[in-house]
């Protein structure tokens, strides 16, 4: 059979990360006595160049054919050491790692205990490495196209980068227009660029780029397959407007029988729209959409004698017969850029967001100060009695962030700065207003942030340290009850308007994306990246990347940077044109398989099928694994009545020796 195993064991100090708690020399001495171990060494950083050279030299000089590295988690450095031993000429799958850092030295304090455990972990790894098999990774073609889900600034940027590099991009947006949250913003901190001015050109590009197929008002229904070959099914929702014919003139919206009756999503409900609408004047694509929940004809089947929109549309674009359309395509990589939800201020009832019209959120403030907003940029507010220009204005920060009581422990990162920006804009619009900001801390950490914060404070905007406990009405004023914690003074501050600097939350509908792409959540409930520092745009699913606020709160520069990062990572398989698929797939021993088909029914990837073979002159059916589809989970194996189907590298005969090695404690 195969040659006799000659094992080298390499125990890493990891500086003192391991050696402070584990006696690495004792572990190496112990390892030397294990069967088939030829050499055992320690080194300060095994993953470093000299550390890897140590292993490579031993392979060459001592003729080792198996390697055990006792160091950090294999999730960290398994690829590193696989590559190293491959370079030294042995099969990269003749490697086993003993996790003596994350799962030993870092979680135990007693040196004696930790050392004993490390020895056992090494013994288990040696037991397994002796019976490992050589494997070959396979390459399959990758589809040179990408799917980007969500067309806010993150999705648009990622799509443009990939498209500019020459690859096809399918950009899927749930709402009728691209642009996302950034389109709703007025100015952007700290430079005060007009948000629309910097965003709209990109929005137009995303729709017109020859390599981008924009699927707006559409949702991803299904994603199958794997890196290089994801099969995607997208539902294009019916707009009830012929996309090709609509000229975007807007006659229909003015003619609509229920014109300007419904709260505009884009204006945060402060403005009104018709049942047939364009979300905002600069929307891309500039095509009207009928909201099936508010259209009289679609909800009641009747709209006067005939629908007004149909009557006035000169292009004959209205089509109430339109149905959802399913689009299917294949891509090599997926970028998730689904964004965030603004915190729902009604979850902090003490601030009276639901009760008082002059308590508004930061997003509403954006629309209020925007010249394209519902008031044309004029800041007026209803104080419950009349529409006034507010003269006494209070901002409250950290609403829905840094708040354990509502389950959001994290900082939303943008509220400090957007509050400063909004205070500055209000100072411009209402020069004689008294503006104060109630804060817990001011976090002005980004480029130009501190300078901007300083500038805003010099504009006679008072920063008062304190977290308000309550807002209530007195006469036609609102009273903010708060303690100034720097002077320990309880205050009752009478104001005309309160702006709640609401934080960012994971999207309420993120579950669907998690199910589609097997994504996980971090403790803060945003999508989890593969590594917090070194793989910040990757996910646990190969070929799926994250961009923007779906991964955690971010400002626009960080979002764009991450989108560009995700785009460049996504382009790796597209540019190579090939992807390496796991070698650790299931394998059937056709001489013992009895063809019962249990494994076939279990496999979640339909990777197993029964095929007829000739076995010693008899026609029999046996299971056969399609290695391109198999992901190596191994669920089939315990179901096998004859132990014939086994995942490579995780065979029964490879795991049982590990169990035996761990069991010998007593």
């Amino acid at each position: 059979m195969t040659e006799k195993p000659k094992v080298g064991v390499y125990v890493c100090h990891c500086g003192i990360n391991i050696s402070a708690t584990v006696d690495v020399d004792a572990v190496a001495e112990f390892a030397k006595k294990l069967p088939n171990v030829n050499v055992a060494r320690t080194y300060s950083y095994m993953c470093s160049d000299p550390g890897q050279s140590l292993i490579k030299n031993d392979i060459k000089e001592l003729g080792l054919n198996r390697v055990v590295v006792a160091s950090c988690s294999p999730r960290m450095h398994e690829p590193t050491f696989r590559k190293a031993i491959k370079e030294a000429g042995i099969n990269p799958y003749f490697l086993e790692m003993a996790n003596v850092r994350e799962q030993c030295s870092w979680v135990h304090e007693e040196k004696e205990e930790a050392t004993a455990k490390a020895k056992k972990l090494v013994a288990a790894s040696v037991a397994k490495v002796r019976v490992l098999e050589p494997l070959e990774a396979k390459e399959v073609d990758a589809e040179p196209a990408a799917l980007v889900i969500g067309a806010g600034i993150a999705g648009i940027q990622a799509a443009l980068d990939i498209a500019d590099a020459g690859f096809k991009v399918y950009l899927v947006e749930k709402t009728p227009s691209v642009g996302g949250r950034m389109a709703q913003l007025d100015k952007t901190f700290p430079t005060l660029d007009c948000s629309a001015c910097i965003l709209t050109p990109k929005m137009v590009d995303s729709a017109n780029h020859p390599n981008i197929e924009l699927l707006s008002y559409a949702e991803v229904e299904e994603i199958g397959g794997f890196i290089g070959n994801f099969d995607v099914k997208v539902r294009k929702k019916a707009r009830y407007v012929d996309f090709e014919k609509c000229t975007g003139c807007g006659d229909c919206a003015s003619a609509c029988r229920v014109a300007n009756r419904f709260p505009s999503e884009f204006d945060q409900g402060m403005g009104k729209r018709s049942a047939i609408y364009l979300p905002f004047p600069q929307a891309v694509p500039a095509k009207y959409t009928i909201d099936p929940d508010s259209c009289l004809f679609l909800t009641r089947g009747k709209c006067g004698k005939s629908p007004k929109c149909e009557e006035v549309c000169l292009a004959n674009a209205i089509n109430f017969e339109q149905e959802d359309e399913i689009v299917e395509f294949r891509v090599g990589a997926v970028i998730v850029a689904t964004g965030f939800d603004a915190f729902d201020a009604s979850r902090k009832p003490e601030f009276g967001y639901v009760d008082y019209p002059n308590v508004i959120t930061g997003m509403e403030m954006e629309r209020l100060v925007s010249s394209s907003g519902p008031t044309g940029g004029k800041v007026t507010i209803n104080n419950g009695e009349e529409e006034i220009i507010p003269k006494e204005i209070a901002f409250i920060k950290c609403v829905g962030s840094r708040d354990k009581s509502i389950g959001n422990e994290y900082c939303s990162r943008v509220c400090c700065m957007y509050t400063a920006k909004q205070a500055h804009l209000l100072r411009d619009k209402i020069p004689d207003a008294n503006i104060r900001v109630y804060y817990i801390d001011v976090r002005a950490f980004g480029k130009g942030f501190e300078e901007f914060y300083d500038r805003v404070r010099r504009e006679n905007i008072r920063y008062i340290r304190g977290n308000p406990s309550e807002i209530f009405k007195r006469g036609n004023k609102l009273v903010v009850k708060v303690e100034d914690t720097l002077t320990s003074t309880p205050l009752e501050d009478e104001v005309d308007m309160v702006v709640l600097a609401v934080g960012l939350e994971p999207r309420a509908d993120m579950r669907k994306m998690m199910d589609l792409l097997r994504l996980s959540q971090s403790p803060d409930r945003f999508f989890l990246e593969a590594h917090p520092k070194l793989r910040p745009v990757d996910t646990a699913t190969d070929g799926v990347f994250l961009a923007g606020c779906c991964q955690g709160p971010k400002d626009i520069p960080d979002t764009v940077a991450q989108a560009k990062g995700a785009a460049s990572s996504a382009m790796i398989p597209l540019a190579r044109g090939k992807v390496i698929i796991g070698a650790q797939v299931a394998n059937v021993d056709e001489s013992t398989c009895r063809g019962c088909g249990f494994c076939v029914s279990i496999c979640p990837y339909t990777a197993i099928e029964l095929v007829a073979v000739n076995r010693m002159g008899h026609q029999v059916e046996v299971a056969r694994v399609n290695e391109a589809l198999c992901k190596g989970c191994g669920s089939c194996s315990p179901a096998c009545l004859s132990d014939s189907i086994q995942p490579k590298s995780f065979r029964d005969r490879q795991i049982l020796p590990q169990i035996a090695a761990l069991g010998v404690m007593r």
Binding site: S73, S520, S522, A540, C633, S635, F650
Partner: protein
Amino acid sequence: MSDNYEPNIVAFLCNWCSYAGADLAGTSRMQYPANIQIIRVMCSGRVNPLFVMNALQQGADGVLISGCHIGDCHYMEGNFYARRRLGMLKELMEFIGVDSRRFHMSWVSASEGHKWKEVVEKTVEDAREAGPYEGFRRRRIDW
């Protein structure tokens, strides 16, 4: 049972959730008993119930199997199979007189370092209460 008895626990963790959660407990420097040794498998669905019996035969006093939360399996369905197979095993173990405190199943995600610590503490404590396992021990086999 002597006072200084320390149970020996073998744990099977799926690569994507629980193993990553255990790694996170490490990076967060959470402290938990050293009685537990982890074997990594790609999916909890890989864990053959016989592995559990085998571990008890080979010298373990307790066995823990941990996977992704139900519905969150990286391989879509693997942890459903694990739950059903090992649930069945648990009943069988009770039937043949193995203390059920020796056997635990848990669902720990990649972000739940704290939960992993709690699971380990509970598993070790239960196995300690159950005492040294003297049932179907096998003599040491040299693999």
